[in-house]
Each structure stands twice: as C-alpha cells, then as structure tokens.
C-alpha cells in the first residue's frame, strides 16, 4: 500500500471536518443534527479503513507516519471517544446555545490532531499533531460564547497551553541538538550509545515530558485542568478528559517503553515520574474532596487517574496501561454523559446540591452514573477495578510496592468523593427543583454503550485484552 492510502484515516477525518463546515452553510439551524450523523458515519468509515491496516505495520512518508497496531488501536480509542462526544453533543449544543457547525468541524480537527500524534514515531510530527489538537481545543473551550466561564476557561487554557508549548519546543530543541534528530527511534538509539550530551538530551526529554504532562494534567502541570473542565462545554470536557490523555499516553509509551529497555541509566527520569505519579494521585484526589461542582470533581478525578496511568507506565506494563485507558474512556464518557443528561435549555445542573434525589427521580441516569462512579472508584465487578488490578499488580511485580500503597490509599480518598455524589443522588432529599430534558436518545445510547463497556471490560475483557496485547507487542 502506498503512502497516499496510508493517509486515508486522517484524510477522511479532515475531509469530513471541512465538509461539515461547508454543509453547515446549507443547513437550517434545526437540521444541524445531520452534521452529527455525517460525522458519525465517517468516523465509522474511518475506523473501518483503519481495520484494513491492522497487522500491516508499515512506515510511510519517510518514517513520519507509522500505522502499526499500536497506532491503530489508539486511533480506535480516539474515534470511539469522538463518536461518543458527537452523540453527547447533539442535543447539548442546541440546548446550550453552542449550535455552530464549526463545533463538529473543530472536534474532528482536534481528533485528527490526536490521530496524527499516535500514528507517528517522529516528535516533530507528534508536536504538530499536538498543536492541531491544542488549537482546536482552545477554540472548543471558548465555544459557549455567552458564557463568561467558557471564555475564561479558553483564555486560561490558551495562555497556559502556549506557555507550556514553548517549553515543549525548547525541549525538542535540546533533544534535537543532542541527537540531531526528532525521530523517537533515533533518539532512543542516541541514549543507548552516546552519553556526552546525555544531560542535555535528558533535560530535553524532561521538558518534552512536561509538555505532554501538561496535556495529561500531571501535577504540578495540572493547574489549568479544573477551570478548563468546568468552563468548557460539557461534551468538550468529556473529550478533553479522554482524547488528549490517550494521545499523550500513547506518546509516552512510544518514548518510554524502549527507553526503559536501554542500557542508559534512566533512574533519574524514572524517579521523577515516580514522584509526579505520587503527587498526581494524591493532590488530584485530595483537592477533589473539597469540590462541589461535579465537573470539577470529575476534573480532579481525571487528574488522579492520570496518576494511576503513570503508575502503569512506571510498571512498564503497556497492555495494562492501554487497558486502563480503554476502561477510563468508557467510565469517564459515561459519567460525563450522565452529567450532560442533567440539563435543560440554557441550564446545566452541575452543583452537587442539584444531584440530591436525582437517583430515584431519574433511575436510569442514577443507576448508570452510580456504576460509572463506582468504576472510577475502582469497585468490582466494573472495568475500573480490573484496570486498577492490572496496573497495580504489575507495578507490584516491578517492585513498586510503596507506589502501589500510595496509589491504593489515594484511591481510597477518591472513594469518598465519588460516593459523595452517590450520597447526594440517593440518600439526600431533593433541595432544589431539577427538571431535565429527557428526550435525548443519543445520550442514552452513549450511557448504555458505556455501561456495557464498563461491565464487559470488568467481567470478561478477554477479546479486548488480546487486541491490546497485539497492539503493544510491536512497540
């Protein structure tokens, strides 16, 4: 297959983004749902195209594009989460006055950036992909133009994001200066063989980690997260909580998996990541305790989850990391779906107080949200438990017992705030009038798909594990 075909997955996404932009002009406001349908259809088509590339790990474009199973698996994850976000957005954008055709276009462009990231072994391309993702994200964050919170989130995200980008690029410069290349394999080889510039390269690597860590929201580079999550339109928040994280962790895997295997003494960066992982888990969960806004709670929870993912990275267990991400996709999307469900025209119910008594009033939302929260907290028999089980067990196998102990204690803290939401839903009498728009089939579809995913992954994830093992085997 030649290089042009290899561009297909990306091209489809970009093409449909542009098509959406154009079609928007011809569509009446009420018919904008069609844009969503079209996007969905092409996301599915894109996924099918990707399947064609499975088992054919080739480099294209001078090694700038790599469609191996790893990239494809992550592309599936990204497509799937985007699909969920599109479904979640359909009702939302008309209710919350974000009803622009550009919404879907930007969303698709953003995910195209993420796809670029995961399917390249070259840091330059990866960073360009990251920029595509970031720039679309900045715009998406500010899309609720009437909402002060939204624009505040956008400016915070933008300024801090470009600040971080500067560091990232500086890091790239250092790496480039040391290894004379931006390709990950070359850089790794460099670390393997030469050591005279190792400090420079190491710091370059460190700055790159920081740059990606910003997107992943690792403590202390996480400060933007809660505000942006709170201010952004909720489906976009859901998007943020999954897509950039998945993409950046894919990069981490690409960098670090070979990196751990090098002869180069990687202790320093290992312990740094160790410390960051601890900080992320602990700070994320501790601050979440004080939140009363559900989106902020989920924001901090997503910070904490980044910490657990980092544990998997440190445990050098790729498949469990990918599995965790997959589960995380379902449970987090599901949780956000439930949060989005609790809204009506120009009003979202986001305060914990609003959740009082919801569980019995809207049983399906209550039950599914509870299950997602329990999964996030790591209760069996949900996927969240199994994911944590894999991650922590391989970490113990690697001898990271203290880290795991901190991790489980942190997740103990998390149980409190997850349960607090459930407490509000089921154990408090309603204190405010909450009425929501219930006719939202797309959203319920997401809820049930996620529910299915969380339970399937918790009870019998063998097939997906086989896929994941294939995907990471070639790293």
């Amino acid at each position: 297959m030649n290089s042009f075909f290899a561009l297909f997955p990306l091209l489809i996404i970009v093409f449909i983004a542009l098509a959406v932009l154009i079609l928007e002009v011809f569509l009446k406001r009420e018919n904008r749902d069609y844009l969503a349908y079209i996007s969905l259809v092409f996301l599915v088509i894109c996924a099918f195209v990707c399947i064609q590339f499975w088992n054919k790990a080739y480099y294209y474009f001078d090694g700038n594009l790599l469609l191996d199973q790893f990239a494809l698996f992550f592309t599936f994850i990204l497509l799937l989460s985007t699909g969920f976000v599109v479904l979640l957005s359909m009702k939302y954008i008309s209710l919350q006055d974000v009803n622009y055709g550009e919404f879907y276009a930007l969303l698709l462009l953003a995910v195209s950036g993420a796809i670029i990231m995961v399917s390249s072994p070259d840091l330059l391309v990866i960073i360009l992909g990251l920029e595509v993702l970031s720039i679309s994200s900045y715009a998406l964050t500010g899309l609720k133009r009437k909402d002060e919170l939204s624009s505040e989130a956008a400016i915070k995200y933008f300024l801090l994001g470009s600040f971080a980008t500067a560091f990232l690029l500086f890091g790239l410069a250092l790496l480039y200066g040391a290894s004379h290349s931006t390709g990950i394999p070359t850089i790794i080889r460099y670390f393997n063989t030469e050591a005279d510039l190792s400090l420079m390269a190491l710091i370059g690597l460190g700055l790159i980690v920081i740059g990606f860590g910003f997107k992943i929201a690792l403590v202390p580079f996480h400060m933007w997260t809660p505000d942006v999550y709170q201010g952004a339109p909720t489906p976009i928040t859901a998007f943020f909580s999954v897509v950039p994280k998945a993409a950046c962790f894919a990069i981490f895997l690409r960098i670090f998996y070979p990196f751990w295997k090098t002869a180069f003494d990687s202790q320093a960066i290992f312990w740094l990541l160790w410390g960051i992982s601890v900080l992320t888990m602990v700070v994320g969960n501790l601050v979440a305790l004080r939140q009363t806004n559900v989106k902020r709670i989920l924001a901090y929870s997503s910070i904490a989850h980044a910490g657990y993912l980092l544990v998997a990275l440190l445990a050098q267990d790729n498949s469990s990391l990918v599995f965790y991400l997959t589960v995380y996709l379902f449970m987090n999307m599901g949780a956000f779906a439930a949060v989005i469900a609790l809204s009506k025209k120009d009003k979202e119910y986001l305060e914990l107080e609003d959740y009082s008594g919801i569980g019995f009033k809207y049983p399906w939302i209550g039950v599914t949200l509870s299950i997602f929260l329990l999964s996030l907290a790591g209760f069996p028999p949900t996927g969240g438990f199994l994911a944590k089980f894999y991650v922590f067990s391989s970490a113990v196998r690697q001898g990271l017992v203290p880290l795991v102990i901190i991790g489980v204690l942190a997740s103990l803290i998390s149980v409190y705030y997850y349960l607090r939401i459930i407490v509000h839903m089921y154990m408090r009498e309603p204190s405010r009038e909450v009425d929501i728009v219930v006719e939202n089939p797309a959203l319920f579809l997401v809820l049930f798909l996620c529910l299915y995913g969380v339970l399937q992954l918790g009870l019998y994830p063998r097939n997906i594990l086989v896929l994941i093992n294939q995907a990471v085997s070639l790293l």
Binding site: K156, I203, G206, W271, Q291
Partner: protein, 634 residues
C-alpha cells in the same frame, strides 16, 4: 427397670415443652394437672429407681445411661448421659417429692394469677433443669442443669416483672449466679484439660489413680466452689438470695430453699474425692460455710419481713451444709440438705399461707396474734421452726447435730464454735418470728383484718405433709452414738462419698456435744420468748443502746451498697468514662481526625488553585525548575 431412671428429668421437660408451645390455649385446670402429674411422674420414677438401686451391688455404682454423644470436638467430648447412684437417687427423690408438694400448693396459691400457665411452665422447666443437674453423669451436663436452674430462678423471681423490684431482683440473681458460673466453667475447663473427660466416674478414677496433684485439685475445687457460692448463696455471692424473695412464695420454697440453692452442696458432695484430695479447699468450704452460717443468722435477727428472715435463715442453713461437706462429713451435709428441704419449704409455704391470709402482708410488725386466725398454719409453722431450731426428735436436730459433731470430731473447733453460735441465733430469730407473728398483740391493719382467713385445703394439705416429714425425716440418720447401723442415710450414701472421713470420738463426748447443741437451741428460744413475749420493751432498749450495731444488722451490713460501690458502679462509671473519653474521643476521634486531616490538606491544596493564570503558570514553572534541577543534580 433399672434403666428407666433417665426419664426422671425428661418427664417435666416434655411437660414444659407442651406448656410452652400450647400453654396459652389450654384450660387452666388442665395446665395444673399436667404440671403436677409430670412432677409426680418424676417422683414415682425416682422412687422406683431408688428401690431398684437398693437391689444392685455397690460395685456397679453408678448406673449410667448414655443417650447420645452431645459435643465432641478434638479432645473435648461430652455425652448426654445420666447416672444413678445413691446420691443422685436421694436428691432426685427429694427434689421431685418436695417439688410435687409445692406444685400442688401452687395450684392454690397462684390460682388467681394472670400468668398461671407461664408459672407452671417455668416451674416444670425448673424441675427439668434441677433433675438434670442431679442426674447428670458429667460436669458439663451438670453445668447445663446448673445454668438451667439459674435461668428458672431468674424467670421466677422476676415473675411479676411489672414490679421494678422483682425485675431487678431477677436480673441480680442471674448476674450474680453467672459470676459463680464463670468460676464453675473454669473449673470444668481445668478438669477437661487435666483429666480429659468430664465424667464423674472418670474424674474419680483419675483422682484415685493419682492423675492430678494436690495443688491442681485445690485449684479446681476452689473454682467449682466459686460456682457453689453463687448458686448456694454463700459469702461472698449470697446477696441475690434475699432479693429473690420478690418471687412467688412457692418459688421461694422450692427454688430458694429446698432445691436449687442446695445444688452447691450437692456438687461438693458429688466431688467429694476432689475436696478430700485437696484438703485446703475443703477447709475453705468449711470456713466459708461456718462464717456464712453465723453471718446470715445475724442479719436475720433484725429483719421484719417474714420471707427475708427465712431467706437469711436459708443462707445460714446452707452454711451448715457446707460445714458438713468441708469437714469431711459429706453424708451429714447431705443429710442436712435433705431435712432442710422439708422444714424450710414448710416454713416458706406456711409463710405463704400467712401472706395469703393477710392479703400479701409480709411485715411482722403488722401481724401478731395470728394463732387464732390460722389454726392450721400456726402449728405447721411451729413444727418447722422447732425443726430448724434443732430441738431433739425433729429432723433438723439430727442433721445439724451430725454436722456439728463431725466438725468437732475432725478438729474444726473454731467451725464448731461458730456452728453453735449460729444455732443460738437460729433458734432465736425463728422464735422471734413465731412470737411476733402468731403471738402477742394484734397489730393488724383493720382492712386486712376483714379479709383474714385460713388458706384452702390445696394449700394446707401440703403444709401438713411437709410438717409430717419435718418431724420424721431425721429418723433415717440417727446419730452414731445410738448405733452405727442406725444411720441409714449415711450408710446408704457411703459408696459414693468415699472422700469423707470420720473420726470417732468417745460416746461421752458425743453426748456432751449433743447436749450443748440442744442447750443452745433452747437458750435461743428462751431469749426470744423473753424478748418478745415477756418483756417486749427489751428489743427497743437494745436498739437504743446499740444503734450502730442495730443499723448495721438491719441494713444487712451494707453489703449491697458496698458491692455496688466496689464493683457495679466502677464498672458502669468506668465504662461510661471509657466510652466518652476513649471510644468516642480517642479511637473514633482518630478515625474522624484522619478524615479531617485529609480534608484539611485538600483545603490547603485547593488554596493554590487561586483561579489566576499567573499563579497557575508559576506553579508550572516551579514544577519545571524542580524537574530539571532534579535531572541535573541526579
């Protein structure tokens, strides 16, 4: 026919079961028939068993009936098995016989009570438990009966539970008994550990084979005796018995005079080899018995409540029984148990009859001169009093004399002395009771006087029967001085009570001792006559002269208060303190404190999330710098 004895406890058990399940739907008459018949059945079987036992040679004692293996785990094996030997045969007869009489009495006494069925259910249950205790062939099963009678005692004391005093008396009885039982249980544990079995035959064999040392024997014996002090109301655990008089009078007669409270004596007799081996334990038993005998008697001196006087007298009399056991004269102790069963239940029932007549009045100060109103009750009461006082030819005389003689003969002079002192006091307070109740001036409440009447035959006939036995029961165990063969009772029990030892003293000395005890009994009666008939002012004067002593005695040495202050209150207060200061503040505080600290650290951390872009960037930069710095330094 010899095997039939195992039915003895189970006849009342069956009756209990029927009454418990269907009692509320059965007519009252049927209930009373069934309850009485069940006990009568037991009595008949006991008699048959007794007779059959006489035909069996001594070597085959005890006859054991093994029903099934009850508990078996590792080295802890207990069978549900009963045994028949002279000791249990005598006890079974006494218990079921007296029990039967009291059942009949109860039919009259309780006739108008709401809880009629409940009463008989409990009473039958008691018979079952008591007979099980008596017939058990191992200590665990004995403990079952032991606890069972405790439960029934609780139930029956608190029979009128609407009354606070009754309810708390019941509770007190149970808890105090439990303290003793804990000791008993420990004793059982020691037995099982060192002997490996709880069967009495095995225990006796082990002792005979020298399997346990003297020290161990002492330990076990004392632990078991702790149980006995609880059940038999000896110092220091006697305190529940006076309060137990809150129960219906027949119950006091049956449980708290004739049968249950003597279980301790029975147990000691049952374990006679053990006590004999220990020596020390036996001495302790004797001393506790003796001290209790006098101590309880002193408290009886000043009480005005008929039943309380009788209760203290019971404590005192059981003390005598323990003296008997302690000094090695187990047969004498058992003999006193046997005679005491008759005269004490007689006294109680008669007291009940008085109460019945006086609409429930119990205070002697409000009686007097009842002789003429209660033509049947008075003589029977008098017989009982004479018996207990130890006037020759009445049953109490023989048994008490046997004990005191044995005490003297075995060298326990001090104990003997106390026994004599107790005898004086006993005679005194019994006749004080008689005189205050039946003689002298009438001090009756006029309202009570209107309704005064003698009890119905169903109550008086039992009195007569018991009075009869109180007179003649002693003749089965005549003093040795009259001829060794004449002590049928002792002779019969001999194969069981091998641990006893008799020191023979000269006939002269024995006559002297008998003389002394008769003398002091008479002395007591005379003093009582003098105080309460001849010169009724004297007690007043004494009271004025020695107010402290009187008060001390009247308030029962403040023992209840002391126990409360020394054990109950510290436990309760201490627990409250621990609960408030330790459980809630320290332990729970630590838990909540951890939660608070966690929350607080979250608060501090969230302070950094100030909302300002610059602060965010600053923390980012800080992170970068530390990150790079670490890489450089490392």
């Amino acid at each position: 026919m010899t095997e039939i004895f195992w039915l003895i406890p189970f006849v009342p058990a069956l009756s209990t079961l029927i009454l418990a399940l269907f009692g509320t739907k059965l007519p009252k008459k049927y209930v009373s028939y069934q309850a009485c018949l069940a006990v009568f059945g037991s009595f008949v079987i006991s008699v048959i068993s007794f007779l059959s036992l006489l035909q069996v040679s001594h070597e085959s004692y005890p006859l054991v009936k093994n029903l099934f293996s009850w508990i078996s785990s590792g080295s802890f094996n207990v069978n549900l098995s009963l045994q028949l030997d002279p000791l249990s045969a005598v006890m079974a007869m006494v218990v079921s016989g007296v029990g039967f009489i009291i059942h009949i009495y109860s039919v009259g006494y309780m006739a108008k009570d709401e809880g009629y069925t409940r009463y008989f259910t409990y009473l039958n249950l008691f018979m079952f438990a008591m007979l099980l205790l008596v017939m058990a062939s191992n200590v665990v099963l004995m403990f079952v009966g032991w606890e069972g009678v405790g439960l029934c005692s609780y139930l029956l004391i608190g029979f009128w539970f609407e009354k606070h005093s009754a309810a708390s008396a019941g509770k007190k009885a149970f808890i105090v008994n439990r303290i003793g039982d804990a000791g008993f249980l420990l004793g059982i544990m020691f037995i099982f550990i060192y002997i490996g079995s709880g069967e009495f035959t095995a225990i006796n064999a082990a002792i005979g084979g020298g399997a346990i040392t003297q020290g161990l024997a002492t330990l076990i014996a004392i632990l078991l005796f702790v149980g006995a002090t609880g059940k038999s109301a000896q110092i220091p655990l006697y305190i529940w018995l006076p309060d137990a008089m809150e129960g219906p009078t027949p119950v006091s007669a049956l449980i708290h005079a004739a049968t249950m409270v003597t279980a301790g004596v029975y147990m000691v007799a049952r374990m006679n080899l053990l006590y004999a081996l220990s020596g020390t334990a036996a001495q302790i038993v004797a001393i506790v018995g003796a001290v209790t005998a006098v101590y309880a008697a002193t408290m009886a001196l000043t009480q005005n409540d008929i039943k309380r006087v009788l209760a203290y007298s019971t404590i005192s009399q059981i003390g005598y029984m323990f003296i008997g056991c302690g000094v090695g004269a187990y047969a004498a102790g058992m003999f006193h148990l046997y005679t005491h069963a008759f005269f004490k239940s007689l006294l109680f029932l008669a007291a009940g009859s008085v109460m019945h007549a006086l609409s429930g009045e119990l205070n002697m100060k409000k009686m007097g001169g009842l002789r003429k109103y209660l033509p049947l009750t008075y003589p029977t009461f008098l017989i009982g009093a004479i018996a207990i006082a130890g006037i020759p030819f009445f049953s109490g005389f023989f048994s008490k004399d046997a004990i005191l003689t044995a005490a003297y003969a075995n060298g326990y002079y001090f104990v003997w002395g106390l026994g004599i002192l107790g005898a004086v006091l006993t005679a005194f307070y019994m006749f004080r009771l008689i005189f205050l109740t039946f003689h002298g001036q009438e001090r009756l409440d006029p309202k009570v006087k209107e309704h005064i009447h003698e009890s119905p035959p169903v109550m008086t006939i039992p009195l007569v029967i018991l009075a009869f036995f109180s007179i003649i029961a002693g003749f089965v165990g005549l003093p040795v001085v009259l001829g060794k063969k004449l002590n049928f009772f002792g002779h019969f029990l001999e194969p069981v009570l091998r641990g006893g030892h008799e020191t023979h003293i000269s006939h002269d000395l024995e006559w002297i001792l008998i003389g002394i005890s008769v003398g002091v009994a008479l002395l007591g009666i005379i003093i009582a006559w003098f105080f309460y008939i001849k010169a009724p002012r004297i007690p007043e004067r004494i009271r004025e002269r020695f107010p402290r002593i009187y008060k001390l005695l009247y308030n029962k040495y403040y023992i209840d208060e002391i126990y409360n202050a020394a054990f109950v209150n510290p436990t309760v207060r201490g627990s409250e303190k621990i609960y408030d200061h330790f459980d809630l503040k320290v332990i729970d505080g630590a838990v909540n404190g951890t939660a608070k600290v966690t929350g607080f650290s979250g608060k501090i951390l969230s302070y950094f999330q100030s909302g300002l872009i610059k602060d965010y960037a600053l923390i980012f930069l800080l992170g970068v710098i530390i990150f790079i710095g670490y890489l450089i330094i490392f």
